[in-house]
């Protein structure tokens, strides 16, 4: 990022502090009150990502004989780009309508791509950040309040549109809405990347998060995704059980992922790689799942070997003591650090609304 872009990013981060005051004023206009929650909503309410729509099919034997640390597969791939998203939804206040407590959330969503050049990183393009106030509009009696707030283009007012008039559902709905915004940001930045960099298939983007739900036409061979959650509710998630015994620096079976809901099967391939030795640790320790698209089963297996080799190398430098450090590759930690540095901390937001 050039100097102007860097300054813009910093200015954006500084601007976010002003948001808190505007939300406080909005709450006052709604005759509401500040009531910040202790934890972020994502920790309380897990958004169903849609894995239940996919089926796994095992077609290859695990690559038990190859230790990718000592015998890396030969390939010409370079993990050059890394992307990650950020989503943090905080309950900051409430207002009451006809005896109903209505929650108001402050959600920060972001996405970033880092580019590695000579072992060092710089931001590719511009990091995407959205600052959102989420509340169900239908509970707002004076629409003028929302109109006045909309005058600020630096913070988005979003209808969290709960299905039911239940307090908890409204909170879950806010998290879902934030997830939608995050997904959109991720799609936007991924599309931008594909447009500019996607043609060079040797330079790979390692995206953090789910791509199973995306049509294959929106992906390319040089885009892979990683996931640190071992158990997700596949239709036949029992297949995952066998992956827990994958030895260190080796990969498990390559499995086909088939979308069972759409018209197109959009077949992808996924497998687990054990990034670290699991002595003195649980069976999930160091298991990182990778998903790609491939032209054929054979192609998928070859590329699984190549990417496993690359990812095993990425275990260093370690990211300890970050959460899930055993599965977290360093560039993804940096992505998160970058995004976090541009937004107010959770405790800043909480303490702001607690003292006002």
């Amino acid at each position: 990022m050039d100097e102007a872009g860097r300054s813009h990013a910093i200015a954006q981060a500084e601007e976010s502090r002003g948001h808190l005051h505007r939300i406080h004023r909005l709450l006052a206009d709604l005759k509401g009150r500040n009531s910040p929650a202790e934890s972020i909503e994502e920790d309380l309410f897990r958004v169903r990502e849609g894995y239940h729509n996919f089926r796994l099919d095992s077609f290859s034997q695990p690559e038990n004989s190859t230790n990718f640390h000592t015998n890396p597969a030969s390939h010409s791939l370079s993990l050059k780009f890394f992307s990650r998203t950020l989503q943090r939804t905080q309950l900051v206040g409430h207002f009451i309508v006809k005896g109903q407590e209505v929650p108001v959330h402050y959600a920060i969503t972001g996405a970033i791509v880092l580019q590695r050049i000579d072992r060092r990183f710089k931001v590719w393009g511009e990091p995407q950040l959205r600052f959102n106030v989420l509340l169900p509009f239908r509970f707002v009696e004076d629409s003028g309040v929302l109109e006045r707030f909309r005058g600020d283009d630096k913070i988005d007012l979003v209808d969290s549109a709960a299905d039911r008039d239940e307090y908890t559902q409204m909170r879950i709905s806010a998290v879902r809405k934030a997830h939608e915004i995050t997904s959109q940001l991720r799609a936007d930045i991924r599309n931008q990347w594909r447009e500019k960099e996607g043609s060079d298939l040797s330079n790979v983007l390692v995206a953090d998060g789910m791509i199973e739900d995306l049509p294959n036409s929106s992906l390319s061979d040089n885009l892979i995704s990683t996931s640190r959650t071992v158990y997700v509710p596949w239709q036949n998630s029992e297949l995952v059980e066998t992956q827990l015994t994958v030895p260190a620096f080796q990969r498990g079976q390559v499995m086909k992922v088939t979308d069972t809901t759409g018209n197109e099967p959009n077949i992808k391939y996924t497998w687990f790689t054990r990034m670290r030795m699991k002595a003195q640790a649980g069976p999930e320790f160091g298991l990182l799942r990778t998903t790609i698209i491939a032209d054929s089963d054979q192609d998928a297996v070859e590329r699984a070997n190549a990417f496993s080799s690359c990812l095993v190398q990425e275990r260093l430098p370690v990211t300890y003591p970050a959460e899930n450090w055993d599965k977290l590759i360093f560039p993804h930690k940096l992505c998160n650090d970058y995004l976090e540095s541009m937004i107010p901390t959770q405790s800043t937001v909480k303490s702001y609304f607690a003292r006002m």
Binding site: E3, E14, L316, V318, Y320, F330, L334
Partner: protein, 586 residues
Amino acid sequence: MQNGRPECKFPEYVNFDFGSIGKAASTRANPNTAQYFYFWLAAGASTLELGNIVAAVTDDGHATFGTVVELSTVMDIENFLSDYISHDFGDPTVSPPSDLAEIMIAKVNVIRATHDRIRPIGRGSVFFATPEGVAWSLGMSDYVKENRGIPIGVMENGDGSLVPIFLDDEFLIGPEGSHMNMSGISGLATKTSLVEFLLKSILEKMIKTDKRKVAAVFFNVKGKDLLYLDKPNPQYDEHDAYTNKCRQMYDVLGIEMTPFENVRVFAPYDRGSEGHTKSFRRDGKVEHFIWELKEIVEDIPYLFDKDSWDESVDAVYVDVKDQIERQPIRSYDQLIAWINEERRVVAQGHVTHWRGHEKEDFYKCAKNLDALSGLYDGLICTGGVDQVDVPLDDLYNGSIFVVDIQSLNDRGQAMVFSKILKRVYAALIEDNKDGHRDFDSVVFFIDELNKFAPEDPNISAPIKQSVVEICARGRSIGVSLFGVEQFMSQIEPQVVDNSSTLIYGRTGPAELMTKNYSWLDEDMRNRLTTVPKGTFLLKHAKFTQPVFCKFPYPTCVPGDQYEEDLDAIRERDQVSAFAFRRDLEN
């Protein structure tokens, strides 16, 4: 903000062209205060180093200037264990695909801000200060504009600019402040060279501006250090990079690269060889001085140590002095003749006392007086040699007297130093309505000041009180003392405290642990252990923060590097010896 360049109300003070070198930030662990702020260095800001002067431009368009006093690096490593694991469990040759983020953080002591409020800054883009910005922040602009600036060196900022550093003459040679003290390891701190450069600077500036009439008296206490101020420095025949930089410094500072003029050198008389003096300079340019008894009668007790000159001897000497005045005794030879006569009388068996004193005490005093001419050979007239004084009346604006006292022991050096200092002091106090005196101020320079004004009260230093008084009152009279020593901690604190300019050259770590350096930030202190020759840390009364400066080679040859023409000396010796014999025969 335009293209990363913030709006600034004082753009001439900030080097925007070089680009931003970092961003000020205030963290929970390292909050900014009104005295200092922190900033992280931009990627590629590789030229910043300790001592640089930077400007943080804040959103309100104001700039806060400061000196970088601490640099630290932070890597994205939680602890050593994680880094050990990152290297494949302890293999230092492992090179992970990603390099860990590494940043450098600078701590900046605030010098001055363009706004009037005393408050810490938060966010701010950091740039190098321009020479104008450095001058303004240090407060030099005002007195330089009023022709009061004395160049002392240049500050090399991280953007490559050479910033001329000026002292305020009113705080260097009075009347607002005075005196300079410099410390540093012998041979590495280039103390003498700096004083030579500073003297050149003072004299040239004063003569050019015709503001003050300044003369100088330098005491050469060791070797040939100051004996060739009038000889050009052959270093300037060279064209290596540093010498060229020195030329550039003279240019930036506006000083001509010529050796001193109007230099006279004086040394005690050498009775062993007519025409010569007790000086290492042998080219016939050294004038001798030697004093008659009356000149030193009051100083004689201070020329002996306490074992030789105890209280009982002192009591005897009161009566001796009384006789010197009464008779009167005019010369040292007469004194010794009289003492011998007294010895003869006292030696008679029935005499038990000399003028009420024990005979032994009288003998002890007589023995000391006997030994005086041997101990201080060349300083006291004996054998018919007439008194020749240092002609202090000949001092005039721009003139330099070098008094070469390296041949004397510490007590002899102290006596000469003190005597000349007091005389000049007296001359400056005198009314000058008739204009007979052609100087308003005199700069005294003496090396090894610790011998004359030691901090330790147990060390005998007969002239310590005089030095302290000169330092306390000299500024208003026009006496400025430039003292130099290896260890500032060994100097009487009042001397240091009264010096409005302090200079630190390379200094040993043990010395840096003393209280004289406790006000410095740790990194700045540590840097003093390694500063190269020609670099020094300057603390001036007008500056709120010290500044690292460089100075060029002096225009005169360093005394220890000058080799005289031995054939010419030999020839001159022969002529001189012939003339001496001819005079004797006549």
